[in-house]
């Protein structure tokens, strides 16, 4: 059914969008007037009302979080591309194994990135009071969605 196909593609694209937003937007940890993410720390000085942004530290754990987030995007994009390839080349009754595997890998990468960030973030930001921003939450949300999407691909069969 076309509806099923559309639904699966929408889910995949949603996962991709979530991954992109959470990697790029600067809201992983927010505090009073400052926000940090994977690539820079921005702080709004209340005195001058100017937003100062500096590059994040070169901590190895931060680099590994950046790397796994980028990897998850790569795997998800690859999975989308492979899905369209397999849609036209797979035999009837075949399963979208490769697509599902890459999507599951993307989900695992996001999970590892978010976990490493959660455990190790005191190493590169030193704000006293902080809370997690929406980009961080998006990263965690995209993990089960990516797993779900990958599993759907693995159990789905190609029909005529």
């Amino acid at each position: 059914m076309l509806l099923l196909l559309l639904g699966i593609i929408v889910l995949h694209v949603a996962v991709l969008v979530l991954l992109f937003v959470s990697t790029i937007v600067s809201q992983w940890i927010v505090g009073n007037g400052h926000s940090t993410d994977l690539w820079q720390n921005c702080s709004l000085l209340s005195s001058s009302n100017i937003l100062h942004c500096y590059s994040s530290s070169t901590n190895e754990w931060l680099q590994s979080v950046q790397a796994t987030m980028i990897l998850s995007i790569i795997f998800s994009v690859l999975s989308l591309f492979l899905f369209f390839c397999q849609l036209f080349t797979l035999t009837k009754g075949g399963r979208f194994y490769i697509t599902g595997v890459f999507q599951v890998l993307a989900g695992l990468c996001v999970m590892s990135a978010a976990s490493i960030y959660t455990v190790r973030h005191p190493e590169w930001h030193f704000a006293a009071e902080y809370s997690y921003g929406f980009a961080y939450i998006l990263a965690w949300v995209s993990f089960p969605l990516a797993l779900l999407s990958g599993v759907v691909y693995v159990i789905l069969r190609k029909r005529e």
């Binding site: 790397a67 790569i74 009754g93």
Partner: protein, 238 residues
């Protein structure tokens, strides 16, 4: 391997070329070193020095290394090489720590400093004189001594990305190899031209699994077709 790029690399070459083309052959010597060198306390560091000269390398070539401490004003001479003989500092702060690793015929005037200490922070100047070519610019390299040498940004990033992608590709390749390996032993049968590729017998356990899946799916399906051939291409209608 030089840790950093040679200082002022393209412009002296360009300037020298221009000089040699525009003016009558002027004699100038250009010295190249790194801009910055990082070292860890207690380890050794190599200070590279190379030069370009409009004359052939003569036997009277001389290299001089000077050291200016961080925040100091005076530069002291710590190494000199002349007439084929290196002269190493034997009384100063670099006593017995300098090693000559250069070779004039390869245009290399590098030295190695062993057993670094925090007091070695400063600027080193390499001066080369190649008679009759004696007029020229020297070059300076700044030494930074750290407790632990900081890794450059991007090393971990690139390593993680490259490693994971490499492992995934390797696993994919192994998987495809394993799937088509029984073909060598003749267990695969070529399907009808409509299907793609070969159909190979999977390992022994999966026939049961596929049959069960087929059975569970067929109970919901309106029509079922169970095929004896096992593998991925089965017809299934809903």
């Amino acid at each position: 391997m030089a840790p950093g790029a040679p200082s002022s690399s393209p412009s002296p070459i360009l300037a020298a070329l221009l000089f040699s083309l525009v003016l009558p052959p002027a004699q100038a010597i250009v010295v190249y070193t790194d801009k910055e060198v990082h070292g860890a306390v207690g380890s050794r560091v190599t200070l590279y020095c190379s030069f370009w000269s409009s004359e052939w390398v003569s036997d009277d070539i001389s290299f001089t290394w000077r050291y200016q401490p961080e925040g100091g004003r005076d530069a002291i001479s710590i190494f000199h090489y002349a007439k084929g003989q290196p002269y190493i500092d034997e009384v100063g702060t670099f006593k017995e720590r300098i090693q000559w690793v250069g070779d004039p015929h390869w245009k290399d005037g590098s030295i190695v400093i062993h057993n670094l200490d925090y007091s070695d922070n400063g600027t080193f100047t390499c001066d080369v004189k190649n008679p009759p070519d004696i007029v020229g610019k020297t070059s300076q390299v700044t030494l930074y001594v750290f407790e632990k040498v900081p890794t450059r940004y991007g090393v971990v990033l690139g390593a993680v990305i490259g490693g994971v992608i490499g492992v995934v590709l390797l696993l994919l390749a192994l998987f495809y190899l394993a799937r088509y390996l029984p073909w060598r032993r003749g267990n695969c049968t070529r399907q009808a031209p409509a299907d793609r590729g070969l159909m190979c017998d999977p390992p022994l356990q999966t026939p049961v699994l596929y049959a069960m899946l087929d059975h569970s799916r067929s109970t919901k399906a309106t029509s079922e077709k169970k095929s004896k051939g096992l593998g991925e291409s089965r017809k299934d209608k809903k």
